[in-house]
Amino acid sequence: MTTDQTHFSEMQTPDGVRAPYSQYDGWFSDQDKARLSKKAREAEAFFRRTGITFNVYGDNDGEERLIPFDLVPRILSNKEWAKLSKGIDQRVCAINAFLHDIYNRQEILRAGIVPTELIAQNEAFLPEMMDFSPPGDVYTHIVGTDVVRTGEDDFFVLEDNARTPSGVSYMLENRETMLQMFPELFSKIKVQSVGNYPKHLRRSLEACAPKSASERPCVAILTPGIHNSAYFEHSFLADQMGVELVEGHDLRVVDGHIAMRTTRGYKVIDVLYRRVDDDFLDPLTFNPNSMLGVPGIMDVYRAGNITITNAPGTGVADDKAIYSYMPDIVEFYTGERAILKNVETHRCSEPQTLKYVLDNLADLVVKEVHGSGGYGMLVGPAASKRELSDFAAKLKSNPANYIAQPTLSLSTVPIFTKKGLAPRHVDLRPFALVSPSGVDITPGGLTRVALKEGSLVVNSSQGGGTKDTWVLED
């Protein structure tokens, strides 16, 4: 394998294999490569047969695709993980405090740390959430923080996904697949388990139940249905937790509670883990055309008779304009410096900054403030002249819709190719669970990998793949 001097390689440095990968490297060099190729094909067949697929919007109707799985794990030492998880814990706590503050006293606005208009004009801000505290004061029960790495000790948070982060099923299935393909690896190398996530998720959700709930609260997952791109994950999590997977038309308001239609009549739900966006949650409060939600659920929620996870309106904390204030937000609520770094972010809404961004477009990554999934973004260094000028026009017509960041030199981890190992850029999405009893972060997460050589876009909708992520026990 060649080493690439311009990017930090997590496995191979000019001085040799990095410590977390040394045992794996020893195992790998003993492997027959033809056998590994065969295993890779088997894994793909397994994913298809099990239906671990996602639907791509705008594709031929009903087409289901696999997210390519690469069999080389991404490995972190326990020490690296300890710092990372501490940083995520801190950030997640700050986000919850921020949301509670924004929807109640708004002290951070009065202190002038975050500009008021950024909240007032934010589409994700929900006035319906004002002067209301959800059970246990938890807003973001499930967070998937996107982290990238640029050096031995340089981790950056790229995005705080505080709405309905997806991908956790791939974290679990990837591990399951690795265990099946290479059981001998796991007896040789001590890797921290991720398998308890569903149990912890259920416990965490139950701990957030409203006061009206019984001792064993009833939890359900709300899905938009089988045509949603993440349906597999919804049904997977319901199955793993042993809770019902419901759609809007299974639910209705019964005596001031949300209840699901069962074969024996209506049964009250205490905690609804919804995988439906805010806008579609309640046609009486939000988008009146929504068929995916439950009419009246917001009234039930505000009356304290159901917990909705994540809480409506959490998007105000994870959009890309607020992101640039995160270091201040962390400091404001925790009294500590942020452990994890932010990527330097230029807010195009500011005229001076806009000029700078336009002048340096070819070196920057420009993103929509509310965008996700890698759609609508510009990667300057990879863009053609034409793409740059088209994007500049969009930028000028609506500057407040964009932020710009320097192109990060993302770390690489090798993938297995026909020609052997080849470095590819990766990111990492660990999953944090928040309940009144604390923050629980599963050791590992979803590593997404840009399969195309040199590409920096890891999104599955844009041709990215995934890897199993190992945190060593050390």
């Binding site: 047969r49 239906g51 089988i226 419901v246 074969t263």
Partner: protein, 313 residues
């Protein structure tokens, strides 16, 4: 269990049964067309009628040509009852209720769908037809085997079985009805030994041509064949067998839930039409009328079950 889940299980197994039955129908039609070319057109027409797709077929084609019929019944996306359409619907329902299924059942259904999406991507040449039809039956057996071998005997299982047997009863009744004229005992034929190709098709359509010989000692007679398909409870596609299975599953549900519902009365009424009957009293009543009533029974029973167990709002 969610009402929607019960509905998904019920429909998933109705569609799977329908796919299998359609494959049998095509198989029987194909065989007759091969052996008796003069009757071929009439045979194929009755296959279309039995599969309840005549209106759609007639709108698309002018004649009953085997290639058209086979294509329409196997893989036409416009035909909601084509094998490909119903396998897709079975699989959609399986996805909907995935949490209620064991991995084995889910994988079997998903694999079946993947397989037929591939196999039925383009028209099936006649030489490949027997292989394709037998694969449909094999896959159906695989799903059934996974269900019987791995699922808990709780409400989930009962709703699956009810779907299977309601669909099967409907199907068997239709098959007999389309050919009922060939079963009618005419004075000249009563008691006579008949080499009637129609009867053989009929038995083949329900994969019963061999078991008939084993189970019924006499030669083919109208009464013998009709009785076997309608009243013989040993025969897993007979109407009596289906009724008995439906009643059994519903009673298990009533026991689990501690409550009988209106559908239980309907099922008993359907059973009463079949229990302690002999075939001559059915001929007296009028075979066609009897079968018609049974198809309606099965339909209203299905609707009542949907309502009693809250499949939909």
């Amino acid at each position: 269990m969610l009402g929607k889940t019960a509905g998904g299980l019920y429909w998933m197994f109705r569609y799977l049964e329908r796919a299998e039955n359609t494959a049998r129908l095509i198989e029987a039609g194909f065989r007759i067309a091969l052996t008796r070319s003069t009757d071929a057109e009439a045979e194929w027409k009755s296959v279309v009628t039995t599969s309840a797709t005549q209106a759609g077929y007639d709108a698309k084609y002018d004649s009953y040509e085997s290639a058209h019929i086979i294509d329409y019944l196997l893989r036409d996306a416009e035909n909601a009852n084509s094998v490909l359409s119903v396998i897709k619907m079975a699989r959609d329902n399986a996805r909907l209720v995935r949490t209620a299924l064991t991995t084995e059942v889910w994988s079997a259904v998903n694999e079946t769908w993947m397989l037929f999406t591939e196999v039925l991507k383009s028209p099936v040449p006649e030489v490949d037809l027997p292989q394709v039809l037998s694969t449909i039956r094999q896959q159906s057996a695989l799903v059934r085997g996974a269900l019987l071998g791995t699922m808990l005997r709780n409400d989930t299982f009962h709703f699956c079985r009810i779907g299977t047997h309601i669909e099967r009863a409907d199907n068997t009744a239709r098959i007999i009805d389309v050919k009922y004229f060939s079963l009618l005992p005419t004075t000249s034929r009563v008691g006579g030994r008949l080499d009637n190709v129609q009867w053989e098709t009929l038995l083949r359509s329900v994969s019963a041509h061999r078991s008939f010989r084993w189970a019924v000692e006499e030669d083919f007679t109208a009464a013998g064949v009709a009785s076997f398909l309608i009243l013989d409870r040993r025969m897993p596609r007979s109407l009596s067998f289906c009724a008995q299975e439906i009643i059994g599953s519903l009673n298990n549900l009533a026991e689990d839930y501690g409550a009988k519902m209106p559908c239980h009365d309907l099922a008993d009424a359907m059973g009463a039409r079949l229990l302690n009957r002999d075939i001559s009293s059915i001929f007296d009543e009028g075979l066609h009328e009897f079968l018609n009533a049974l198809v309606l029974d099965a339909a209203s029973l299905g609707q009542q079950i949907e309502q009693d167990y809250r499949f939909a709002n």
